[in-house]
Amino acid sequence: MDQRAPNLLDEALGLVDEEKTKPWPLSSRVVLVEDRVETSGAFVLHHLLKRALSPHSSNDVVVFLAFSQPFSHYDRVLRKLGCNLTAQRENNRFFFLDLLMSEFPDGDEENKDGLVALYGKIEKVVSTSFQENKKCITIVIDDFSLMEVAANGSTNYVLDFLRYCRTLTSAFGCSLVVLNHEDIYSSIERPALILQMEYLADILIKAEPLATGLATDVHGQLTVLNKEIRDEQGSSRNKICNFHFRVKENGVEYFYPGSKT
């Protein structure tokens, strides 16, 4: 399979660009990936990571906030996809913030200070990269629910953190990609956190199991809601896309429901 062939996810996100003339379409945008325990949405993050670090766009910088997996995990996954994270890290294109063991100190003020310091780190990386003329910066948070855990469950502070990260998207044209789990909020009547995130997001990607149950050939469905379509030519693009996917060892197959032979 040709790795560069655009797939349905790229199309839905507007990443298809043959001439490589347009700027990174996700810049200044917030992408929220929502998944469930049955269907992990991690492959979407891997895909976006690979696209952001692809050799065709040499200006890209990724700041990765890892709350859920160690570096070696991402390194192995991305290597299968044909992207060497270790090399990228040495080239200062991939900034990996290992927050796996991090726990912000207990107590209201200290808790906040921990998040402020983390934000400061990100801002520093972003602004120095920006000054080095690396304009396409992607901030990835994997995943947000664990960040809430690290912040001792303080929803308000992590939302503040997210807001501040969002100011970077408007100030520096960064893109912000956040993964969160939808079903852990399902029992709450007013899941303010996930709703706030959905309001914030410009692009919402939902990974869900099939409504009809388990299948061997189809691992789940993706729904992409592209809220704001920036189209200067006025050509209409699909605003809500829905397709099935199958996660393979070295890539993901995307296809429309019923089109797989």
């Binding site: 503040d160 807001r163 309001y199």
Partner: protein, 376 residues
């Protein structure tokens, strides 16, 4: 209807009364409140620029978007922000609402200041302080219109953000202080209703003279979260919805009006409830044995029926019997009565009443007194 909101915001407040206030509320199922907000903002801005409105300036309190976003937006709509006379001030509660960046900068940790600073918006570094927020809004407004009696408008793009940092009572205090300030011409704010308890939404609605609520075209029966099982329907209808506006008059009269909207190319468009839906509604009426409505032909035929008490002058002038002359056609009418048919009319385009006598027992009409057997 969106226009009537614009008009109300444009016309402003009467002397000695609260400024008209508008709550725009939406939910995640149809999250287009911000589109309505920007629509009203541009309308009001062009009114202010054309000097059609009571207010001469606008203070925009930006929580959810950066000031440069708004400046771009207004420029794109052909409204020139950088005109000779300053008419808009943006209070920037977006860039550094909690003073984190300031603290980082002070400790020498943070990077350079962002390029937001160049937009000329005034920064608010502590949105938790309602008194400070209030005084800076009023100061910015007075900075535009100067001292005197000239008023200005206030727009707040997210009440939810304030509510995250302050209690509902202090936010209500801020809004009501703004409303009752005699320099404020009108005020409007956006609120996502599903982020808070119902009572918070109710409080905001009590304080506003107009409430614009945005609802999806097909109200989901499954609760307020997006339901992707209805996706085929959603694909078509997500960008459309219903727009209800509730006006509260001074005397307590409440009027609700509805419209439809659709979002296209980042702009929101309004139209009256389409007749397509009415046809759908009509066909949804249960099928019954009798007609509730007459068809056009039936209505026409019905209009042609000559009722028995009407003068049936067949083209001739109507003569009313005054007791002195005998009616000329009295004889010809008496004849069919005896055969049981009241009237046979050759002119088929006219409606007719056919009367069949049940039996000969039934006495023909006569001048006899029907009560003559009574012993009065």
């Amino acid at each position: 209807m969106a226009e009537s909101i614009c008009r109300a915001l444009r016309d402003g407040a009467l002397q000695g009364e609260h400024a008209p206030a508008l709550t725009i509320k939406d939910s995640i199922v149809s999250p287009f409140g911000f589109h309505v907000f920007t629509h009203l903002l541009t309308q009001l801005s062009s009114n202010i620029l054309a000097a059609k409105s009571q207010s001469r300036g606008l203070v925009l309190v930006a929580f959810s978007r950066s000031p440069s976003f708004y400046l771009d937006l207004l420029n794109r709509k052909g409204i020139h922000v950088a005109s000779s006379q300053k008419w808009i001030e943006i209070l920037d509660c977006y860039t550094d609402p909690l003073g984190w960046k300031d603290a980082l900068l002070a400790s020498g940790y943070g990077g350079s200041l962002s390029n937001e600073a160049s937009t000329g918006a005034s920064l608010c570094r502590n949105v938790k302080d309602m008194d400070k927020l209030y005084s800076s809004i009023i100061e910015l407004g007075k900075g535009i219109v100067g001292q005197g009696k000239v008023r200005f408008c206030v727009a707040i793009d997210s009440v939810n953000e304030i509510l995250r940092h302050a209690s509902i009572s202090s936010v209500a205090g801020l809004l009501s202080n703004l409303r009752s300030n005699d320099r404020v011409s009108s005020i409007f704010w956006l609120s996502h209703s599903d982020l808070h308890e119902d009572r918070v939404t109710a409080v905001l609605e009590y304080m506003s003279s107009m409430v614009a609520s945005i609802e999806p075209l097909n109200q989901s029966a499954y609760g307020h979260r997006c339901n992707w099982e209805r996706l085929p329907l959603l694909k078509h209808n997500f960008w459309k919805g219903k727009f209800h506006v509730r006006f509260k008059r001074r005397n307590g009269r409440v009027r609700v009006m509805s419209e439809e909207f659709y979002v296209e190319q980042l702009a929101i468009n309004f139209r009256s409830i389409s007749s397509e839906d009415e046809i759908v509604n009509r066909s949804l009426l249960p099928k019954v044995q009798f007609n509730l409505q007459l068809s056009e032909k039936e209505q026409f035929d019905r209009a042609k029926v000559v009722l028995p008490f009407e003068h049936q002058g067949t083209g001739k002038p109507i003569q009313i019997y005054d007791g002195r002359r005998s009616l000329t056609d009295g004889k010809s009418e008496a004849e069919p009565v005896s055969t049981g048919i009241l009237q046979t009319n050759e002119n088929s385009s006219k409606g007719e009443i056919i009367y069949l006598r049940d039996s000969d027992d039934e006495r023909p009409d006569s001048d006899e007194d029907p009560d003559d057997d009574l012993d009065i």
